[in-house]
């Protein structure tokens, strides 16, 4: 209670204070911030030496950013490199200790009319929407066409849907900063020792899956003579599609494309998966399973991480979790059960091989945007391309960022483990986090593609492959399966700002869906109430939301 009161009170204070600040020295502030960028004339890159420019930014500098040699964020090897090689002097207007404070400060800057940094990253969809609506960020559609390098255009062309996050009917207001892309897509983890004990094969279809669950529940797989095991662990507290402890694939096996909680294109129109009739068979199946005791009756009160505990404690035999989960949190199983063996398999599919599974956005909602008054966007694109050298393993950054920082060459071979450096470092510095993007921007799905090659017997040759090859076997297998399953990825295709009706009614409607789903599966609520849910959803504002979403979809198509 005090907590919430505090929020409201402090936000009101902030608003009030910001009012004064806004009135008081709006123009005074501006000078300081823009001097650097706008003070210099734009540089025509016609043969001659590039004029040095100053580029302002702002970013969170957490304890995970590690410096050595007495460097800090304003003075480090990366900034020096940018200045010497590209003639870009990076200047931090302000920094914060964490992401939340960073976004609060940005929001404050927006409401006080403080000048925004030239280039800055935002990881908050509603803030991005506000920034675009405020008219203070730059439309970069022309600049992108003109200055983006070929390989960047190729990359964004391949994953062009991600650009929809920043598109409006008027233009393109920034760029998504890609992450590994499929890092939170689920694969199926199974207690291999249980399968072996019961002499079962890993499930390939939903029918197999049901049989295995039945055996895990009733066949006493842990051999203690008690009926104390369940088939499958998942979380239903926030959604049925989750980044951990997921259940989306059960619905996907019947729909083939849509999953709960995501907007999916069907016949040219975006539809919310949760209220499609295709969800009904999956839901009915889960109700049946819950009644038979295959599922944990407590799933609705467990959040995605808490839900992994029944697997870790050796009570549940299967769980759908990301490809890196064996390293954490599932490895917890080994500490209580030394003989346990975890293996990873593709998610079971429906009839005719139908499947779909949860997928986050390729950039985990991280985007870079630009101040409207930023004059040197050409130079930014040059910098952006250079940073991608690390991922493409070309140019200055062929082995990594900076020798002596993230790698050291020993006899011409790069060493990445800082503990094995000629002068070992307990905590290696993180030059990847000195960049404007908080971390190295990646090529989506590349990690799992590498895992796939390695799993199929390729010898690691590139830097990326060599790094990946140091992972344990089951993690590489999981990555490979993650890659194989990419056809079943069902990302949310609505990437625009929350629409008007979503903002006013969306939460209530989401709550209604989740409540009905959970009650159908875990209580005596009838499966036919699903039809009532669909009707209610459309009547109580869902229709408006669907129309607004499709207006957006037409505008970016």
């Amino acid at each position: 209670m005090k907590y919430k009161k505090g929020i409201i009170r402090s936000s009101i204070i902030i608003l009030i204070l910001s009012l004064f600040v806004g009135c008081g020295n709006g123009s005074g502030n501006n000078n300081q911030a823009t001097n650097g960028a706008t003070g210099n004339p734009p540089v025509a890159d016609k043969g001659g030496e590039k004029l040095p420019i100053t580029l302002t930014t702002a970013r969170p500098i957490g304890s995970d950013v590690i410096f050595i040699n007495g460097e800090d964020i304003t003075n480090n090897v990366h900034n020096k490199w940018a200045k010497d090689t590209l003639g870009i002097e990076i200047k931090d207007l302000w920094t914060t200790a964490d992401n939340t404070a960073y976004h609060t400060k940005l929001r404050l800057a927006l409401s006080t009319n403080e000048e925004l940094p030239d280039v800055f990253v935002v990881q908050d969809r509603s803030l991005v929407a506000d920034l675009i609506a405020s008219g203070k960020v730059m439309d970069i559609s022309e600049a992108y066409e003109q200055y983006a390098s070929e390989r960047l255009k190729g990359l964004y062309g391949e994953f062009s849907e991600a650009l929809n996050q920043l598109k409006t009917e008027n233009g393109l207001y920034g760029l998504p900063i890609f992450t590994s892309g499929d890092g939170t897509n689920p694969v199926l983890w199974i207690r291999q020792d249980w399968l072996d004990t019961l002499k079962l094969e890993a499930p390939k279809t939903i029918e197999d899956f049901e049989k295995v669950m039945d055996a895990f529940t009733n066949g006493d797989p842990d051999g203690n003579g008690k009926k104390d095991t369940i088939g499958f662990a998942f979380s239903a507290r926030e959604n049925f599609s989750n980044w951990m402890s997921d259940a989306s694939f059960i619905f996907g096996a019947y729909s083939g494309k849509a999953i709960p909680g995501s907007w999916t294109e069907i016949d040219g129109k975006l539809k919310l998966g949760s209220v499609l009739p295709e969800m009904k068979p999956g839901l009915a199946k889960m109700k049946d399973w819950a009644a038979k005791g295959y599922l944990d009756a407590e799933s609705p009160i467990l959040d995605p991480i808490k839900a992994t505990e029944s697997f870790i404690q050796g009570r549940a035999g299967m769980i759908a979790a990301p490809s890196w989960s064996e390293g954490w949190p599932l490895n917890g199983l080994y500490s209580t059960n030394k003989d346990a063996k975890i293996d990873v398999y593709p998610l079971p599919v429906g009839s005719d091989g139908k499947s779909a599974r949860f997928m986050n956005t390729l950039n985990e909602n991280k985007v870079v945007v630009f101040n409207k008054n930023f004059k040197n966007i050409d130079r930014f694109f040059e910098y952006f391309d250079k940073i991608y050298d690390v991922v493409y393993e070309t140019g200055d950054f062929k082995y990594g960022y900076f020798e002596g920082y993230d790698y050291v060459l020993v006899n011409g071979e790069p060493v990445y483990d800082s503990k094995k450096f000629p002068t070992p470092l307990e905590k290696g510095p993180t030059p990847s986090k000195y960049s404007l993007f908080w971390n190295t921007p990646e090529i989506p799905l590349k990690g799992s593609a590498i895992a796939n090659r390695l799993y199929n017997g390729a010898t690691p040759t590139t830097v990326g492959e060599k790094k990946a090859a140091t992972q344990n076997e089951v993690t590489i297998k999981a990555g490979s399966i993650n890659f194989d399953l990419k056809a079943s990825n069902s990302p949310n295709q609505f990437l625009g700002a929350p629409t008007q009706t979503m903002r006013s009614k969306g939460e209530s409607l989401d709550k209604m869906i989740l409540e009905t789903y959970a009650r159908i599966v875990f209580t005596d609520k009838s499966i036919d109430d699903f039809d009532t849910l669909v009707k209610d959803w459309y009547d109580k504002g869902g229709q408006q939301i669907e129309d607004e979403v499709n207006t957006w979809y037409q505008s970016v198509k």
Binding site: D130, R503, E507, E515
Partner: protein, 325 residues
Amino acid sequence: MSVVLLEKKDEGIPVQIPVQQSRLDRFKKGFKRTWPLHVLILPAFILTILFHYVPMLGLVIAFQDYKPWLGFFKSEWVGLTHFRNLFMFEDSVNVIWNTLIISVLKISFGVSVPVVFALLLNEVRNIGLKRSIQTLVYLPHFLSWVILGGILIDVLSINGGLVNRVITSLFGIDPIFFLGTGNWFRTTLVVSDIWKEFGFSAIVYLAAIAGINPSLYEAAEVDGATRWKQILHITIPGMLPIIVVVGTLQLGNILNAGFDQVFNLYNPLVYREGDIIDTFVYRNALLEGNFSFATAIGLFKSVISFGMVVYSYRLAYKYANYRVW
């Protein structure tokens, strides 16, 4: 006034002669003597104005469609739309009811349980035991609901949680899904909240008991009163003013059912019985960035709470002779 009279008295002039002085003069004279006190209170006064009254201007956004980049002056005025929306949601009526039910239960047990506990503890003769019990029971007060929420989920689990294991072995009934069935959920909220807070709340009652004049007990003993009679006729009447004050002031919290607690424990199965105003605001307004709507609900709550505080202050004055000044 009294100051003036005292001076006159010292000079030997009869008190009953009215001293004709204008209010301003009296104020001037008084101020001359007391100005250091005013200076002392000034910083607190300024801070109160600055941080408690000036921010109230921000309430205007409850009547606007507030956009951060437009500010207070350019955001569109929408009148009472947000308040109307609050009551248009079929959720919101449900949510307000839940809040009332949960907080009334919490207030009534939250007052009575510590009183009973304080009475019982007061009867413990062994000082060492008394002290250690007191320390033990107020410890949970210092745990946050984020931690307790996780602990409760484990302790109340239907899969071998401590509580259910005790219940099944003692009574031979099926495990109870405390956090997943509506009425049990409310009970769990109230009981766990009382468990967490009763020790801490009892401190004030123990202090009240300690303040009762021992000669009353001695006199009662001489008259042959039993311990029970002593509690009934001395201890309870002695505590009554403070019980009434605490109880009535709690009424100001009638719309606060405990955000931290509910937020960490509620789930899709008990939305209908467990969703309260604060969690509703959190999801609908703060997560969605609807600052105006959040402020409107905050204002609504504050007005109700203000009314309750005024009313309860009257009650406290009437029944316990409690006054702030």
